[in-house]
């Protein structure tokens, strides 16, 4: 692989994204995917960034043993997520690159605007029962398409009914 300006910029973007992940615990795919997608194509960006992301998150998860309690608590969220990821990845493979770029750009801007507006919402335990599968599927789908559904998850986990989950 020749060391040219493209790879240098990708390297700097990745360092920044991983630094943000280290500081905040979030944000690696959200920063790394669009920046890498600007320089390479979005399918390559999503594919290349999965393993590093898995590596960093696994370090956080297995530090204190496997979190069975969390799997039990969020099974209604996780099962549809898995279905969504497969469908989203199929869309990633079949859809023209310009539409994927558009989706990623819109997702990034939605995240920025929701942060600037400080949007917050509350969810009752009753609502959680039917919102969990819906949000799970949507998050998985968006993750499959753009690799950046973390902002959605963060909003969900700050909603009232989901507060108090194991940290």
């Amino acid at each position: 692989m020749a060391l040219d300006l493209t790879y240098l910029v990708v390297g700097i973007a990745l360092l920044l994204a991983a630094f943000v992940k280290g500081v905040t615990g979030f944000g690696f795919p959200l920063i790394a995917t669009p920046t890498v997608a600007l320089l390479l194509d979005i399918r390559t960006a999503v594919t290349v960034l999965i393993l590093p992301n898995l590596f960093m998150d696994s370090a956080q998860v297995i530090r204190d043993g496997l979190p069975y309690e969390i799997f039990r608590r969020f099974k209604a969220f996780m099962a549809p997520t898995i279905v969504g990821v497969f469908l989203g990845t199929l869309v990633l493979v079949k859809t023209p690159l310009w539409i994927l770029n558009l989706c990623l750009g819109v997702m990034v801007l939605i995240f920025v605007i929701s942060n600037l507006l400080k949007l917050d919402f509350t969810v009752s335990p009753e609502q959680e029962k039917f919102l969990s599968p819906l949000f799970g599927f949507l998050s998985g789908f968006l993750n499959g398409v753009t690799n950046a559904a973390g902002p959605g998850w963060r909003s969900i986990f700050t909603a009232s009914s989901w507060k108090g989950v194991p940290s």
């Binding site: 692989m1 390297g11 990745l14 360092l15 994204a17 991983a18 630094f19 943000v20 992940k21 280290g22 500081v23 905040t24 615990g25 979030f26 920063i31 669009p34 920046t35 997608a37 399918r43 390559t44 999503v46 594919t47 290349v48 960034l49 999965i50 393993l51 590093p52 992301n53 960093m56 998150d57 998860v61 204190d64 979190p67 969390i70 969020f74 997520t81 898995i82 990821v85 497969f86 990845t89 199929l90 493979v93 690159l97 310009w98 539409i99 558009l102 750009g105 819109v106 997702m107 990034v108 801007l109 920025v112 942060n115 600037l116 998985g140 993750n143 963060r154 986990f157 989950v165 940290s167």
Partner: protein
């Protein structure tokens, strides 16, 4: 934080299977992935070590500005790109 990381891991493991199903993993992307892991380890470690010394408010502001810029560029590129 651990709940989110657990869901992230579940999602990423599923994504590895899905991406492999549609043959997006090949030697080129795999090699690039390993290189990226090395880069990210350095950044991740620096982030963990430096998190107490960072002004969170300014940090978030800078981050949002960067993301807004990247988001706009992606949209411009999408609408000006040949289908």
């Amino acid at each position: 934080m651990k709940s989110m990381a657990t869901i992230f891991v579940t999602t990423k493991l599923t994504q590895v299977v899905a991406i492999s199903t549609w043959n997006l993993f090949n030697w080129y992307t795999l090699k690039l992935s390993v290189l990226v892991i090395l880069f990210t380890l350095v950044g991740f470690y620096a982030g963990i070590k430096g998190q107490d010394r960072i002004d969170q408010k300014n940090f978030n502001r800078g981050l949002l500005a960067l993301l807004a810029f990247v988001g706009v560029i992606l949209i411009i590129r999408a609408v000006t790109q040949d289908a």
